[in-house]
């Protein structure tokens, strides 16, 4: 990380909410935290939350950076359908695993490139620009599958959805790896700073020499890639591609996860891990309500209630009452007497 550790209160609402939801689940099912090993793979409700939450968490990783630039990507659900359709169709046609993965991820990159060019070069408002692919994407996916639900039996591809690595389900592993790679990419380079600068004030950033079109295209391309990975995971899990329903409405869950994670739709500061936590909060609630035997209809209302609480905890008006993080380091005195010239020795 190239920035100061955020103060404890900054991540508190997200972790607190996740803990509260998990606690509620535990109160309803004392077995909630029990994990057992079976056939070399972990099972249990908690693992289920991580596993089922993976697709939205994957989307949220890409969405976080798009939202940090003050944009939004409505097309990620449709991109999931495209990547799933490509993977399933090519697998059925007898392609090997590597070219299938390459083609499927490539399709996601192309989708992201399209969105990025619309936003950065043609300067179309992100919500409209990505709406185009949100609508057209499902059509493209249907064209790929020729209107059928394409199923496959390739164990290689299926492994991505239902296999496990060192007892951990593959979707969880993939999410963790993508989270790590993304965090390294933005925080070990200056990309994170530039994304935040563009999101806060695009004009000022351009005036300071930030290559704003390239930054914008990059975040949409990465978001497309994340969506393609999510689409692969879902298709591999059900061993088939349903162009109509794969990833349907998941763009909204992804936006919700990012917002619950505390990244503002007004752009600027972002937290990748917090967005993933946001996605897990949503999934923990889903799982909890399913387990509780409540009617699924309750799900939406309970979800809305919990979101209200998390968002209230983040509201600037309320945070005034929370303890502030300790002040960062003071300005260091000069090590040696400074030359009077401000431009010397920089």
């Amino acid at each position: 990380m190239t920035r100061p550790a955020p103060g404890p209160s900054r991540n508190l609402p997200q972790y607190g909410a996740l803990a509260a939801v998990l606690l509620a689940n535990w109160l309803l099912f004392p077995d909630f935290f029990s994990i057992r090993l079976q056939d070399g793979r972990l099972f249990g409700s908690l693992i289920d939350v991580l596993n089922r939450g993976a697709p939205v968490a994957l989307l949220a990783i890409g969405m976080t950076m798009v939202i940090a630039t003050r944009g939004v990507d409505l097309s990620v659900g449709a991109v999931m359908a495209i990547s799933g359709a490509v993977a399933a169709t090519l697998t059925q046609a007898g392609w090997g695993l590597a070219p299938v993965l390459a083609a499927s991820l490539g399709a996601g990159l192309l989708c992201g490139l399209w969105n990025g060019l619309l936003v950065a070069v043609l300067r179309i408002q992100p919500i409209i620009a990505t709406l185009i692919l949100m609508v057209a994407g499902r059509g493209i996916a249907q064209l790929v599958t020729e209107g059928q639900i394409v199923t496959f039996t390739s164990p290689g591809l299926a492994f991505i959805g239902s296999g496990s690595f060192l007892t951990v389900p593959m979707p969880v592993v993939i999410t963790a790896v993508l989270l790590g790679v993304t965090a390294l990419l933005v925080r070990m380079t200056a990309l994170g700073l530039m994304i935040e600068a563009v999101g806060v004030n695009q004009l000022s950033s351009a005036g300071a020499g930030v290559n704003t079109p390239v930054v914008l295209v990059a975040v949409y391309v990465w978001c497309g890639l994340c969506a393609a990975v999510a689409g692969l995971v879902v298709a591999a899990d059900i061993r088939g591609a349903d162009a109509n329903n794969a990833g349907l409405w998941l763009e909204l869950d992804a936006i919700l996860a990012v917002v619950v994670g505390g990244t503002s739709l007004l752009g600027g500061r972002f937290g990748l891990l917090r967005s993933v936590v946001g996605a897990l909060i949503l999934q923990a609630m889903n799982t909890g309500i399913l387990l509780s035997g409540f009617k699924p209809e309750f799900n939406l209302i309970v979800k809305a209630g919990v979101l209200m609480v998390v968002l209230l905890l983040q509201s600037p008006t309320l945070t005034l009452f929370l303890p502030r993080p300790a002040s960062p380091r003071p300005i260091r005195p000069p090590a040696k007497p400074e030359s009077p010239s401000p431009s010397a020795g920089a």
Binding site: T2, R3, P4, M188, T189, A190, L191, L193, M194, E196, A197, V200, N201, L203, S204, S205, A206, G207, A208, G209, V210, N211, G268, R269, S327, P328, R329, P330, I331, R332, P333, P334, E338, P340, S341, P342, S343, A344, A346
Partner: protein, 516 residues
């Protein structure tokens, strides 16, 4: 000054003792303003004079705190633009406030379409639209969308709409700001025709030549106060500029100063050289050389092309003519990134909108330009960022509790110093400062001026735009004076003095020979 020949009939529009305050800031303080039948009346003033507040109070956008407004002797108090229009006060803004996707005819009759059997009578609307536009010399396809025509035509349509809605007072707010010379001539013809029909026109502009070409009377505001009303024919340019800038002029202003004695400096090769550099509708082609260690001031009234020149030099706006060279090598400035690569830096006039990245920390704001120049793949290590930030915070005495404070929480002066630090960190060869002391308290003001002097002593070239003439004179070795988007004079050495600058701003325009 009141009307020298008081008559029985009241003036067309009489504003008396108008006051308006915003959050304790007195934008207008007891202002009188009179418009007579059949006159074109220029309303002039620099930034913060209160022109737009006066107009918005007249058109009902703002409600006045005190004072009276009478139209032909009848007290009026419009509470909105539409009500003002019903009360015969029409307004046309620089950015035409019509609907570009509707047809010309629809725009002319929006909200008052001719009806027939409860439906819009399109045939009648088209016929009446053509008839309305004839006196303006416009014959165009009234069914075409308005947005397809030039800004000048759109403005005339907006004027025609206002006049057709029985405007007796027509307020034109900087109508010529984005027109070329030919379009201005057409607009002036329309304005003269309307004047002969008895309409009172309030003309807001920054172009002094246009004021003298067209207006009968001039009212000058400054800092919310009325400076005075004069007949144009009786007001020499120099006096007008003095009224606007608010300074008493000594006789020296009219004296011709001896030529400058800085011939030896011209021998050094310039760092940057612009020849015939300009942009249509922004600033006329100009020549400009800046040498290392030199401070060049850009002086002129608001809207004279100072900021536009600075933005062209930095590539914020792209020039459409002329050549630029750095160290004798021809260069192209297609954007800030090109300029930064050549070692330029630019602190813009609108700090908040184009300068600071508000929610990011002082540290991040300071290293942003340096980091952007290095590219995203070569991040500046956190430790080094902190060193750079801390060094400039101490050096420029930026008042912030720590380098991680969001820059938007700092005062204006400290934000400005942080922006200076952003560029100093890149060790620029040419730093462009647009109004570096605007909105900054007195203490920080003096510090920034000292800093400017220190920087050029270090060999950095500076191009400074400022409306504070004393300030420009204090640090500039050369001053380029602009008027009406044209570089009209260049003062050097001993010539650099406030009165000389004022005289140059006020000088009569000489016929310009056409450029090749």
């Amino acid at each position: 000054m009141t009307d020298p020949t008081p008559t029985a009939s009241p003036p067309l529009l009489a504003v008396r003792g108008l006051s308006k305050a915003f959050l304790g800031v007195q934008a207008l303080d007891g202002v009188d303003f009179t418009v007579r039948h059949g006159e074109i009346h220029a309303l002039l003033g620099e930034n913060g004079a209160g022109k737009s507040t006066l107009i918005k109070t007249l058109t009902g956008v703002y409600q006045r705190d005190a004072g009276t407004v009478t139209l032909e002797g009848r007290a009026i108090a419009p509470r909105g633009v539409e009500e003002a229009q019903r009360l015969h006060i029409g307004t046309v803004y620089q950015e035409v406030n019509l609907l570009p996707n509707l047809s010309v005819a629809e725009n002319l009759f929006l909200g008052r379409q001719p009806m027939r059997f409860g439906l819009v009578d399109r045939g009648a609307m088209r016929r009446r639209a053509r008839a309305v536009l004839i006196p303006y010399g416009l014959s165009l396809d009234v069914t075409a969308p308005l947005g397809r025509f030039s800004v000048a035509t759109q403005q005339i349509v907006a004027i025609a709409r206002a006049v057709d809605m029985s405007a007796k007072v027509l307020i034109l707010d900087e109508p010529t700001a984005s027109l070329d010379a030919q379009e201005v001539a057409v607009l002036f013809k329309v304005m003269r025709t309307l004047r002969s029909r008895g309409i009172g026109i309030v003309f807001v502009t920054h172009f002094l030549d246009q004021v003298y070409a067209l207006c009968d009377r001039i009212t000058v505001l400054r800092n919310g106060l009325l400076v005075g009303e004069r007949r144009t024919a009786e007001l020499p340019r120099l006096d007008l500029v003095a009224m606007m800038l608010g300074r008493e002029l000594e006789a020296a202003a009219h004296r011709i100063a001896p030529p400058g004695n800085d011939g030896e400096e011209d021998a050094r090769p310039p760092l940057v050289r612009f020849r015939g550099y300009g942009k249509a509708r922004s600033v006329e082609p100009f020549d400009l050389d800046i040498r290392p260690g030199e401070v060049v001031g850009l002086a002129g009234l608001l809207g004279s092309g100072r900021t536009e020149t600075a933005r062209l030099v930095f590539g914020m706006d792209r020039a459409d003519r002329g050549e630029a060279a750095v160290d004798g090598q021809a260069v192209r400035l297609r954007g800030p990134r090109d300029a930064i690569r050549l070692g330029f830096g630019f602190c813009p006039e609108d700090r908040k909108k184009e300068g600071i990245v508000g929610a990011l920390s002082v540290r991040e704001n300071i290293i942003l330009a340096l980091q952007a120049r290095q590219g995203w793949l070569r991040p500046i290590p956190r430790r080094r960022q902190e060193e750079i930030a801390d060094r400039f915070i101490r050096l420029l005495d930026i008042r912030t509790p720590h380098a991680e404070q969001p820059i938007q929480l700092l005062s204006g002066g400290n934000q400005q110093k942080a922006l200076l630090a952003r560029w100093l960190a890149t060790e620029p060869r040419l730093l462009i400062l647009d109004e570096p002391t605007r909105g900054i308290d007195v203490g920080a003001h003096a510090e920034i001026i000292r800093l400017i002097e220190r920087l050029c002593a270090d060999g950095m070239a500076l191009l400074v735009v400022s409306s504070e003439l004393e300030e420009i004179v204090a640090y500039s070795r050369r001053v380029v004076v602009l008027r009406d988007r044209r570089h009209v004079a260049e003062l050097r050495g001993g010539e650099v003095a406030v009165d000389r600058i004022v005289a140059a701003i006020a000088s009569e325009p000489v016929p310009v020979e056409p450029r090749p």
